[in-house]
Amino acid sequence: MTAFGFGRTDNSLLTRWWWTVDRWMLSFVFILIVAGMWLTMTASPAVADRLDLDLMHFAKRQAMFLTLGMMVIVSISVMPVLLVRRLAVIGFVGSLVLMVATLTIGPEIKGATRWLQIGTFTLQPSEFLKPFFFVTVAWLLSVEFSDKSFPGKKVAFGLFALCAFMLVRQPDFGQTVLISAVWMAQMALAGLPMMWLIFAGTVGLFGVGLGYAFLPHVTNRIDRFINPESGDTYQTDKALQAMENGGLLGQGPGSGTVKLNLPDAHTDYIYAVIGEEFGAIACVMLLILFAGIVVRGLAHLLKEEDPFKMLAASALIMQFGLQTLINVGVNLALLPSKGMTLPFVSYGGSSMLALAINVGMILALTRRNRFINPGKDPLGWKAAE
């Protein structure tokens, strides 16, 4: 460690960060970023060629985004908890403003207005909304832990209703489901009574039903999932074909053939391309890496004493995990088709930077002195900060 110049007696910002940060989480995310870069290089040239772009177009941009992402992760993770909270609240308000802008001035792409055009870069504000929203809600709910008079749950519900409304207006059904699920989990952790949980679950199902009834593309996708004969299941079919073609060991990097006919091979369906080129075993290893981040991250929070940190970090990790489960589930035809990216592996600037903010905040919130075990501390000392 001294080779890095992080002496224990050194009390500078970076040194303190190095000794307190969750290094397991950090290294998992780092491995994921490196793997994601590599996988984009094999999956995206086929798509770039099809779109008549430079073969390495997506790979180059992804490299840029990933570098930027790493910088974001590190710079957010050195922040003290208070600063993270303020960043989240400001970010939440900012994202909401941008989302309103999206509805009015954003271009319509494939039937939805989710993006803002900034130069060559299309920004999707709803991606950034998610982490900021969860941290803000966590703060509201955690205040209730010490000050019972504060109506945290009511305010949180108000904010949730606002966000859900905005997302449905875009319309972005996938994000609505994701944000609802994580918000519900936060409410549950914050001690929402069982009766309410059951009620909310019912309302959630009802909401999905409403989406099915009133949003044509949702109807379409769910219909196709339940009964593949009813419509175009091209991408799902191709994804399954790619997985089967890859077998256990894969066709070898760059040797995939099904990927050539997979329109979203570099974004939503990259998992299938990995399956074809690197095989099912590599896919399982990737899943274990994701599970390592999510399950271990959540388990790590069991020792957390601070309600805000626990509610915020767990929500962020759950968002990360749910996104992974939904994306891979779609690739494996276990879930209906949904615009959800595979964290750090799928190509895409907005989702990448938003996830970098997400992970940066997780790391900032889980920093602690690992040499003082709070559970065994008779004096109730908190981790040094």
């Binding site: 997985m243 077998g247 399982v284 899943l287 069991l302 626990m310 767990s314």
Partner: protein
């Protein structure tokens, strides 16, 4: 102090219990996520272990029960002869294309390519390499050696596309039957054209069982016919030739030759003359072979019997035409003599007795007035006078003033000898060997025609067709070629149509020579009896062992009666 402490403790307790609820519920979340990941891992492994759909190579079980890798599915069906010999198949080749956007030095690369592929001009390479297009063909269907050399250049912009090349292993043999394909594999002539849709990948037409087109040809007989015909063509300096071998019971064409021919493997620069199918598209005035039909019609209608006869002492004058005999006997001739010595005078009188209407109806019945139905598109329509006058009836009776294709003639003759059933010709293998046909003459008439045809070879103009032991019967045909405003007596169409064995006819053999010249061996003669009849004889001698027909002693009793009606003047 204690109050404060106790308050603090209570508060902490309360807090701890709330955190405990959170922790408990967090454990639930962890369990759910673990379950989710387990499901994904399970599903991934399930797909990884599944058999790939649409696997590149499947295995099949052979008849003997062994499991082998299935052959590559070729785009176009094979064509085979009746014994399964491959006549047309596909070879995998590579074609060279270029992504011109990736070429940095078009000039230099063009020079290198021109060295490897000399048949494409340097300028063409330069133009295509500097075209800036993403995909341009440079050369279709390279040889393996050329492909190796191009690969050795190591130029990344060059790409190979897998293609199939149509290959005709027998080259020129049966070229007019098979036809040929263009560079993209579209059939342009012959069977390739007629069955183009059926032979292309993906279609499974009933006609083409097992993805191969089984033709009626026997390539060995085809070779015998082509060999004999081209030898005669050379010997007599003829400009062309046509030949057919046909199964009289099934209508199957065993061999079909048109000369000059071409190599379907390389159709560049082939003359129209060579592409022309004389056996089906060419229509000719075939001369005396037509007398067979006149006799059959007259005998079948009872207009004459074999015991009757006509006066042939002097040429027949009708309006401005003079009908005379090539082999004049200048006497009264019996009906068998008229046929055997090929008397135009006698035949014309017989046709007059038959009448124009019945003649027309008969020729129409045996398909001589419509294009022949056959599985190639190069079929010629017959030519005959629209105003069928008395003189037409007389000339048509001996094969002048009507032009039909050799295929039509052979089909008609088959019906005359097979018992009277008209069976349309086919190029497709018939598994049962016998096809039903319309009865056009009585079986007894057919028997008489067989006797007459046999007598022509035994005693008359067709003696050069006598293949000993094979009981050949037939009829010669010699016609002057039509030229502007009349006939050119210097140019002949000489033909011979034969059938064998005459006691139970199996095959019809036809040979035609276009503009044969007289040579020393034929004493300057160039008629069908001297030029085409020997071809038929030689083909029969060569093909019979292949077709399974054994030579045997002839039953002279079959022809005793008719032979008595023929008087050889020389012997008298």
């Amino acid at each position: 102090m204690t109050d404060i402490t106790s308050f603090q403790f209570q508060s902490v307790d309360k807090n701890v219990s709330k955190m405990d609820v959170a922790r408990l519920r967090l454990i639930w979340a962890i369990a759910l996520f673990s379950l989710g990941f387990m499901v994904l891992i399970g599903r991934t492994l399930e797909l990884g272990l599944a058999d790939p759909v649409g696997a590149v190579r499947k295995t099949v079980a052979t008849k003997s029960g062994r499991t082998v890798i299935a052959p590559v599915q070729m785009a176009r069906a094979d064509i085979v002869d009746r014994n399964g010999e491959i006549l047309a198949t596909n070879l995998e080749t590579s074609s060279l294309a270029v992504d011109a956007t990736m070429i940095k030095d078009p000039k230099g690369l063009a020079r290198k390519l021109a060295e490897i592929i000399p048949d494409v001009p340097l300028a063409t390479f330069e133009k295509r390499l500097s075209s800036g297009k993403k995909f341009v063909w440079l050369k279709r269907k390279l040889s393996p050696a050329q492909k190796w050399k191009v690969n050795a250049l190591g130029e990344v912009g060059l790409k190979f596309e897998r293609e199939e090349e149509r290959i005709y292993p027998h080259g020129r043999l049966a070229a007019h039957v098979l036809g040929y394909v263009d560079v993209d594999g579209n059939g342009l002539a012959g069977l390739e054209h007629y069955f183009d849709d059926e032979m292309k990948a993906g279609s499974s037409q009933v006609d083409i069982g097992d993805r191969t087109l089984r033709t009626s040809l026997d390539i060995r007989v085809q070779f015998a016919l082509a060999d004999e015909l081209s030898a005669a063509m050379r010997a007599h300096s003829a400009v062309g030739g046509a030949g057919l071998v046909m199964d009289v019971k099934s209508g199957e064409v065993i061999a079909m030759v048109s000369l000059p021919d071409y190599d379907p493997n390389d159709i560049r620069g082939i003359s129209k003359e060579a592409l022309f199918n004389r056996a089906t598209k060419g229509v000719y005035e075939l001369g005396s072979t037509f007398k067979t039909f006149t006799f059959a019609a007259a005998l079948d209608e009872g207009v004459v019997t074999l015991n009757d006869g006509y006066d042939a002492t002097k040429p027949l004058r009708i309006s401005r035409f003079l009908i005379q005999d090539d082999h004049p006997k200048a006497r009264y001739l019996s009906v068998p003599e008229i046929f055997t010595y090929s008397s135009n005078i006698g035949t014309a009188q017989m046709a007059l007795d038959l009448g124009t209407e019945r003649q027309q109806e008969f020729l129409n019945n045996i398909g001589l007035l419509q294009p022949a139905p056959i599985e190639i598109t190069e079929v010629g329509a017959p030519m005959y006078p629209t105003n069928w006058r008395k003189v037409s009836t007389m000339t048509i009776s001996y094969g002048h003033g009507i032009a039909v294709s050799p295929l039509q003639l052979a089909t008609g003759i088959s019906a005359m000898v097979n018992g009277g059933r008209l069976i349309p010709a086919t190029l497709i293998h018939q598994t049962d060997g016998v096809r039903e046909g319309k009865q056009v003459i009585k079986p007894s008439t057919s028997r008489q025609i067989r006797q007459l045809l046999r007598m022509v070879v035994k005693k008359g103009t067709g003696s050069k067709a006598s293949a000993i032991g094979y009981r050949v019967g037939g009829k010669t045909g010699t016609a002057e070629k039509a030229a502007a405003g009349g006939y050119n007596e210097k140019l002949l169409i000489s033909s011979f149509v034969g059938a064998f064995p005459m006691d139970d006819p199996q095959y019809v053999v036809f040979a035609l020579l276009d503009e044969p010249k007289g040579i020393k061996e034929t004493h300057g003669f160039r008629g069908g009896g001297w030029t085409a009849a020997p071809v038929v004889k030689n083909v029969i001698l060569r093909a019979s062992p292949i077709l399974g027909i054994a030579p045997k002693e002839e039953d002279e009793g079959l022809y005793r009666q008719i032979a008595m009606k023929i008087h050889d003047d020389k012997k008298r």
